[in-house]
């Protein structure tokens, strides 16, 4: 790894470093080996995810969806070099004074819904949509989708519906009383996604599926 790399975050999947790269600031995402996982399984999952992440980021970029630009991929060392986004996460934003205003929330919700609609149109499924993985650029305020560590390409209605369901759960569990905001996200999603009718219908099914799980103990 490049020297002068500075560890800025340890997520669940990877360590994230900030480092200079070709005259600019870059993020280096390093997937580290998981001690708890069987080495064979660990290796399989890690290399698969590095490749999928880079592929999906690239695919989004080509479709003009705001995502970090990929600079370099090193599969053997499980490293991805990408653009450093200056800004704050939607998660943090929603806890600020501004973030509590209904108008501000409606604006962010619309951007989220639009971005997700466009992403699903090109068959990218994010796989880990939480409010921590949605950022807002400091300068333009543009919404950026980050952390494609669990993303994959799929044209299945099911996968896209589950993607939305994961976000819904992240919303209700992290930000209580934001049901209105999530409804606004779905509204914008409906206007921007090609197969939104089918996907939103499937989302109803997926919600029921989650509920069933409370049956036995």
């Amino acid at each position: 790894m490049i020297h002068n790399a500075q560890l800025i975050k340890q997520g669940a999947e990877a360590k994230v470093y900030l480092a200079p790269f070709c005259q600019r600031q870059a993020i280096i995402k390093e997937r580290f080996a998981k001690a708890y996982r069987h080495p064979t399984l660990d290796k399989k999952l890690t290399s698969r995810r590095v490749i999928q992440e880079a592929r999906c980021l690239n695919r989004c970029q080509k479709a003009f969806i705001d995502t970090p630009t990929v600079y370099l991929v090193d599969v053997d060392s499980s490293l991805i070099y990408m653009e450093f986004i200056e800004g704050c996460s939607v998660r943090d934003y929603l806890t600020t004074d501004d973030g509590h205003l209904p108008e501000a929330q409606a604006k962010v919700a619309k951007e989220i819904g639009t971005a997700l609609g466009k992403m699903h149109n090109i068959d990218v499924v994010h796989g880990d949509l939480t409010t921590s993985n949605l950022m807002m650029r400091k300068e333009s305020g543009s919404l950026v989708l980050i952390d494609f560590g669990l993303s994959y390409v799929s044209n299945l209605i099911e996968d896209k519906a589950v993607d939305l369901y994961v976000l819904e759960r992240a919303f209700t569990s992290t930000h209580p009383n934001t049901e209105v905001m999530f409804a606004q996200i779905l509204e914008a999603y409906g206007q921007n996604s090609k197969a939104s009718k089918l996907i939103l219908k499937k989302l109803e099914d997926v919600r029921m599926r989650g509920r069933k799980r409370s049956m036995l103990g």
Partner: protein, 345 residues
């Protein structure tokens, strides 16, 4: 009142549990004493699961004796009991109602208040009490439930869960394929066999965000087990080992993601599968890689028991909560996040 005693009755699945717990309110926090914790388990023959009808019959046949023994072991009489707590759900209908009927009858005979308890919340409160974990991410894993839970604003919120079958159900059903005994528990016998396994079979690994899915891995291993065993390349132990390594990795991964998401350093494992030593070890390896700590309990408190119902019930009772007789019905579907947690800040 300086001390309270709660009787807890649990029978949502194949374990019948009776527990007595005392909270001495003269100290802060209250001093908690477990007076008795008895369990009687229904074991169906190998290759079979427990059916609701047979399980309910088992509970009905043993509950009175178990309550008498619990009172004798605690060395108290029914007059000392302040409140009777029972499992309202989730669980199997027949077994739940058999136990609730006894709870109601005793409450009327002895003139006591009733508290209906959510089974999952019972597991969480018991785990917190025993381990002293303050605000952990909770992994609740059993035969019927798989949930990653964290507390926020008066509710235990579900961050992730199994989208189809529970992890314990997956293990139990594979035990049936191998015809392993149900005594003491099918999952326990898989765990013992897995210790001898060395070769990893490549199995489907399904994590969808915070959620997990076990039906794919189960049908894969159910379908392919006979051929894998017949080839002589893998043993039964290898299959148990591979299944455990794969499904537990999925659980640890989602738990870690929840910890990273909410910024917590504590994990509490509860539920029957939570006594699995390999799961505890893997969780410990994950936690130490991120400076965290794992809290787990042994089989007395991990596996369904009456004490956990008494503990969750008495906490609610202390905030003035009781369940009126006409609302003491049971429900098979009762989500963890439906309970208003009045007793926590």
């Amino acid at each position: 009142m300086t001390a309270m005693i709660a009787l807890g009755l649990e029978g949502s699945a194949n374990k019948l549990g009776v527990g007595l717990i005392r909270h001495d309110m003269s100290t802060t926090p209250p001093t908690v004493t477990i007076l008795s914790n008895l369990r009687h388990t229904y074991h169906p023959p190998p290759g079979e699961g427990f059916l609701p009808k047979d399980t309910a019959l088992h509970h009905r046949s043993h509950i009175l004796e178990l309550i008498k023994n619990a009172l004798a072991e605690a060395n108290i009489t029914h007059k000392d009991i302040s409140v009777i707590c029972f499992t309202k759900g989730p669980g199997m209908g027949g077994p739940l109602t058999s136990v609730a009927t006894v709870a109601r009858t005793l409450a009327l005979m002895w003139n006591k208040e009733l508290v209906g308890v959510n089974h999952c919340v019972g597991h969480i409160e018991m785990g917190r009490q025993i381990t002293g974990a303050e605000n952990p991410v909770v992994l609740y894993v059993s035969g019927g439930n798989t949930q990653v839970i964290a507390y926020a604003e008066k509710r235990y919120r579900i961050f992730g869960e199994a989208l189809d079958i529970a992890v314990g159900n997956c293990l139990d059903r594979f035990a049936r394929v191998l015809n392993l005994p149900n005594d003491p528990a099918p999952g326990y016998n898989i765990e013992q066999l897995a210790k001898k396994g060395t070769k990893l079979v490549d199995l489907p690994y399904t994590v969808k965000g915070m959620d997990v899915s076990f039906s794919g891995v189960l049908s894969y291993i159910e379908t392919n087990a006979p051929a894998l065993l017949a080839s002589g390349e893998y043993t039964e132990a290898d299959l148990c080992f591979s299944l455990q390594e794969t499904v537990f990795a999925m659980l640890v991964e989602t738990t870690e993601r929840a910890m990273a998401h909410i910024g917590s350093r504590e994990v509490l494992i509860v539920g029957g599968v939570g006594c699995n030593k390999r799961l505890q070890e893997m969780m410990d390896q994950m936690a130490s890689q991120r400076d965290g700590k794992v809290f787990a309990t042994d089989e007395r408190f991990c596996i369904d028991n009456g004490i956990m119902i008494a503990q969750a019930g008495i906490l609610a009772y202390q905030t003035g909560y009781t369940t009126p007789l006409e609302k003491t019905w049971c429900t098979q579907r009762f989500r963890t996040d439906e309970v208003f947690v009045a007793w926590r800040e």
